[in-house]
Amino acid sequence: MPNHLINMVKKELREIFRDPRLFLGMIIVPLLIFPLMGSAIRVSTEATKQYNKIDTGVMNLDTTDGNYSLSIQFLTILRSVNITAVNITVQPVDTAIRWCIEKNINLLIMIPGEFTELILEGKSSQVVAYQVLKNYGLLEMEGSTQIGAAISAFNSMITAERLKQSYPNSTGEDLLTPARVNMKSVINGKISDVSPQSVITTLLSTSMSMPMVIMILIIMASQLAATSIAMEKEQKTLEVLLTLPIKRIYILIGKITGVIIVSLVATLSYIAGFTYYMSSFTPDPSGIVDLEAAGLSPDPAGLILMMVSLFLSFLSALSIAILISAYTKDVRSAQSLVGILYIPIMIPAIVLMIAPVDILPPLLQGVIYGIPFSYPILAAKAIYTKQYLIILLGIIYELLFTSIILLIATRFFASEHLLTARLEIRRRKKETAE
């Protein structure tokens, strides 16, 4: 009777959406927490940008005439890396540092007197930088990083100029990097201009985030399913429900359907919050690869297969969660007991985030292939590489596993054990006490 099923699902949804603990925890909190985290990151990033415009005191002791002075060229490079040079005439260094602290300048660079002279003679000269440490935070390392970059650029410039004297027709870039490699990727038999490193990095970032999302989703839904049946016991509504003219399988499916609908809403809430959170980071454009252009986009058939795999994983996890929670007397015990289920959910997610399944030791491979929750994670990567066989085999395995679990759950729901399982445990305890 589908009407009975609809009636059951409607009740489940009303119960869950009106429960402030569940509604706040699963839907509202992700919508608040992620944007709050994102805003905090934006504020910190802005603060960092302000800090990046570093005022630096410069004690230029180089005595070479302005036109030939290499220190002047060095200062020009410093400005290009966002350092504002403030000329300091006071001496010695101790006095200059005190002057900088008074003026709230935290970095002092001292260019030695023979700077140009030594370099032109083919020797090295040492610039000394003094960082005033106040907060001992990571940002106080920024000055030395930028000076390092400036020195590196200055050295390349000098080296290129020296080499040009021997090779007047060459460019500085050619002289500095006489041999280069242009890495291309061959994807599904087609040559792509994108480097394999970029392709793999982008693909890994996708296949690493997907297991996390799937893991969170299944854990969340299992908690909800366990809560749903335990709530019937805690509120003492189960006995009446089981005497109504509705098939027990509909009660089970009604509960699972309600949980899946709420989980989908919660997922959308997570995605919305998480997308905002991720937009807080400024991505490095050089590291992003258009997987579609590189021939690595999943096609609709692959996406459908992955969704089927994910759905079956959901079904089996929810059925197990309901079975486990049927042995508990209240919501709290159900939520604790269902924690057992997190182990098989987390193992494949964590392992497959780090390494592909085929390089794992045989025993671990067996464990991964034996856990049904591994397959949506394997599918998440396989849809990019078009390895549909593993997805199909996974679906067959999941189908078998889920059918067995659903059969056990249905049998359990149809038996008196749903009601007496806990009572029997309690009775046994009593007997032992007597």
Binding site: N3, H4, N7, K10, K11, R14, E15, R18, D19, Q235, K236, T237, E239, V240, L242, T243, L244, P245, I246, K247, S415, E416, L419, T420, L423, E424, R427, R428, E431
Partner: protein, 250 residues
């Protein structure tokens, strides 16, 4: 089985895991339209018997028929004709009283709108029928549960301590409603209660159950005459003490 038999229990035994005998060879026959009372001390086997009738527990031995349907083989048919109210039942806290009645009515054939209207009238919660059940007092919860059990006009009502938790006024109101609905509709009812005045008021016949066995059955007046008792409470005490004396002398 006679055609007018509503409930028939033959040699009913329920042994729980661990060997505890919840019910130990009960035989009962209840006529259609009869209100039958089941009284006995705590742990006597009243609730176990009612749970077996309600298809929640399976008998270890014996047979139970409700309107000709076997509670083991024809569970779904039995569920269509019964309405069961457990002693310590609860209701969905996040639904309103009306939504709860709507949800329950949704599983029965017939005019569901009428069922809900009847339920609202029996519960007599006035405007509070549209408040969430978690805001109800214990008595209000019990009233909505009784309304749920009776609104479908079941052919067999199985009521375990129907007025437990109700104050005197509401208890009396509900007792009258139970009697009126059951008598008006010809419903067969089996009621378990510790309130022996209630049993005397509601029930046509009564059985005394002790240690999982029926030890007396009859109308209230028959039992009172048999034990020279002034009321059912007196009968109950004399019967239970009699059993105890017999056991100790043995």
């Amino acid at each position: 089985m006679r055609p007018d038999t509503g409930i028939r229990i033959e040699n009913l035994v329920k042994v729980y895991r661990g060997g505890i005998r919840g019910v130990d060879g009960i035989n009962l026959s209840i006529r259609q339209g009869e209100i039958f009372g089941l009284i006995g001390p705590n742990g006597a086997g009243k609730s176990t018997t009612l749970r077996i009738l309600a298809t929640l527990l399976l008998p270890t031995e014996g047979r139970v028929n409700i309107l000709g349907y076997d509670v083991v083989r024809d569970q779904m048919r039995v569920r269509k004709v019964i309405s069961y109210l457990p002693e310590d039942a609860g209701a969905y806290e996040n639904l309103t009283g009306r939504e709860y009645l709507e949800f329950m009515a949704g599983f029965y054939e017939g005019d569901q709108k009428k069922m809900i209207e009847r339920g609202v009238r029996i519960a007599n919660l006035k405007e509070r029928i549209d408040s969430r059940i978690k805001e109800y007092s214990k008595g209000m919860k019990r009233r909505i549960l009784i309304a749920r059990a009776l609104m479908t006009v079941p052919r067999v009502a199985i009521l375990d301590e129907p007025t437990a938790g109700l104050d005197i006024m509401h208890g009396q109101y509900i007792r009258k409603e139970i009697k009126r609905i059951i008598k008006d509709t010809g419903t067969t009812a089996i009621i378990s209660s510790h309130n022996l005045l209630e049993v005397e008021y509601l029930c046509d016949r009564v059985s005394l159950i002790h240690h999982g066995k029926i030890i007396e059955t009859g109308t209230s007046s028959e039992l009172k005459t048999r034990y020279s008792a002034i009321n059912l409470e007196d009968v109950f005490l004399k019967v239970v003490e009699g059993v105890r004396d017999a056991q100790s002398s043995y």
